[in-house]
């Protein structure tokens, strides 16, 4: 057991790589999710078709196979990715597809009356989306995004298969060096758990902020003078 604990610098290096891939993959997934999710909620048929194409293809693709394909197959046509780039791209494309479904659903769940009020104020289509619909949809997106983020973090374990020295990769090393299988993997589980907890906290924080923006909970220090009315602005 103590041998395992002595390997903690390696473990922490591995954890850092895992966090990096998680963050980069999540940023890419978020950008793709927003772009293709908004397209999926658009009126234009071709935009919705683009959304369907992306979602159906990458939602069905296993991150591992996608990563192998990017890493091993594309060099055959002259496209070379570093292991890190292949890993981030694979995870981002895969989770971006799930995220796009969340974004599309959230946009469609914003009451139609909000869209109509934006038209009545003569906001242009892009302004309606950016200033009225999306900010309200974000509140609906965050909880499922929190789940996806943790799923993505756990899925990063596959990157050890393209020789990236992430947490799982380090675990295998330490296990091989010490022979302490049970202790090693127990410790690694704990580290994954801690990372997941931190991510969860961050998402919660964002949730609270958006809820305050939407007036669903009082701002710190501000007293509610009048209780929220019935028949108020639709949620």
């Amino acid at each position: 057991m103590s041998e395992v604990l002595d390997s903690h610098p390696q473990l922490l290096q591995g954890a850092w790589i895992t966090v990096q891939i998680t963050v980069l993959g999540a940023v890419l997934a978020l950008v793709l999710a927003l772009a293709f999710g908004v397209a999926g909620a658009a009126r234009a048929v071709w935009m919705r078709a683009v959304n369907r194409l992306y979602v159906e293809f990458f939602r069905g693709a296993a991150a591992l196979v996608l990563m192998y394909w990017l890493f091993y197959s594309l060099p055959l046509v002259g496209l070379r990715f570093t292991p890190m780039a292949a890993a981030v791209l694979a995870l981002g494309l895969n989770y971006g597809a799930y995220g796009a479904e969340v974004v599309r659903g959230s946009i469609n769940a914003v009451p139609k009356a909000q869209y109509e009020a934006a038209v009545a104020l003569n906001l242009r289509p892009a302004q309606r989306m950016r200033r009225v619909i999306l900010p309200q949809a974000v509140a609906l997106m965050l909880p499922p995004f929190g789940n996806l983020l943790i799923e993505l973090m756990k899925a990063t374990a596959v990157v050890s298969l393209v020789t990236i020295a992430d947490l799982t990769f380090r675990a295998q090393q330490i296990q091989a060096n010490t022979g302490e299988t049970a202790a090693t993997y127990a410790l690694v589980l704990v580290v994954y758990f801690v990372i997941a907890q931190v991510l969860q906290r961050l998402v919660r924080l964002l949730e609270h902020r958006t809820e305050r923006m939407l007036g669903r909970r009082p701002r710190r220090g501000a007293l509610r003078e009048v209780p929220a009315p019935a028949g108020g602005a639709p949620r």
């Binding site: 009356a113 909000q114 109509e116 009020a117 934006a118 038209v119 009545a120 104020l121 003569n122 906001l123 242009r124 289509p125 302004q127 200033r131 009225v132 900010p135 309200q136 923006m213 939407l214 007036g215 669903r216 509610r224 003078e225 009048v226 929220a228 009315p229 019935a230 028949g231 108020g232 602005a233 639709p234 949620r235």
Partner: protein, 289 residues
């Protein structure tokens, strides 16, 4: 379901009583200047197989204030939504001023309007909804400045000044930083009225704007709208079941049934001596409810 005309005996509660000191000299927040008229020409609107408007014709003169009454489902909201470009016509033409709203001219022919034309036409038109529809992701001030800044191109300072003037007028100057969910229904509707006026429309559409309010808040909002109607040059189209309000606010009342105008005339005549059977029945039903 439709609210009655009976003025509640309950005085408006304190949180909803501004003295409505409208139009304070130089900083008059209300729109002024020539307002366009409106013309419906053989307008058809259907939802699936349900023909709601069947070749409807009517005109509203520039600056005229018209109230639409009629049973639920008779197409009143549809008329306002067509004017706000929230629905598209299935036949006929709507004109605002001399220009077609639902169509635009292309090589001497009228074709269905594109977004650019609709944007141009919407500059003249504002709407207040039954359910207020304030933006819950913005505080009161931003609800009022969003359009002026991002659509009209006002500077933030100009927009804030305009918003302050309007909030003053609707008696909510102290709620400028409040969040919509912190306001009563009456207050939310006042903000919604101010938000519409901040765009300086020439035509204002009011769709049962007090029917979602608690009874004791109705009169305050109605008084506000009455003063706005009297002190501005707006062309006003108003749907309401409240007869006192309709009398106060309108030059002419149109009685609708099944997408057709059954009877029209000055409010005193329509409410005092309705000629048509259907008008009498409708008014009786409203009074009884």
């Amino acid at each position: 379901m439709p609210p009655t005309d009976t003025t509640p005996a309950v005085p408006a509660p304190e949180d909803d009583v501004p003295g409505v000191p409208l139009a304070k000299g130089a900083a008059d927040p209300l729109p002024h200047g020539e307002a366009p008229g409106i013309r419906f020409e053989k307008v058809v609107k259907r939802f699936g197989g349900n023909v709601v408007l069947r070749e409807l014709d009517f005109t509203v003169a520039p600056g005229e204030r018209v109230t639409l009454i009629g049973p639920s489902g008779s197409g009143k909201t549809t008329i306002l939504r067509l004017l706000m470009t929230l629905e598209r016509v299935d036949g006929g033409i709507i004109r605002v001023g001399e220009r077609p709203l639902s169509h635009m001219e292309r090589g001497g022919r009228l074709v269905p309007a594109n977004e650019r034309h609709l944007h141009e036409m919407r500059k003249q038109i504002g709407m207040v909804f039954q359910q207020f529809n304030l933006f819950p992701n913005m505080n009161v001030l931003r609800n009022l400045t969003e359009g002026p800044v991002h659509v009209l191109g006002l500077s933030r300072d100009e927009a804030v000044e305009r918003a302050r003037g309007l909030l003053d007028m609707v008696g909510l100057a102290d709620k400028i930083e409040a969040h919509p969910s912190q306001l009563s229904g009456g207050q939310q509707q006042r903000v919604a009225i101010a938000r519409a006026l901040a765009m300086r429309p020439k035509v204002l559409l009011l769709d049962e704007v007090t029917s979602a309010l608690d009874p004791e808040l109705v009169v305050g909002v109605q008084d506000l709208l009455r003063d706005i109607a009297r002190q501005s040059d707006l062309t006003l189209l108003c749907v309401t079941h409240e007869m006192r309000f309709a009398r106060d606010i309108s030059d002419r009342v149109l009685m609708f049934d099944q997408g057709q105008i059954v009877e029209e005339g000055p409010p005193d005549q329509i409410f005092g001596e309705p000629r048509e059977r259907r008008t009498r029945d409708f008014l009786q039903a409203v009074l009884a409810s």
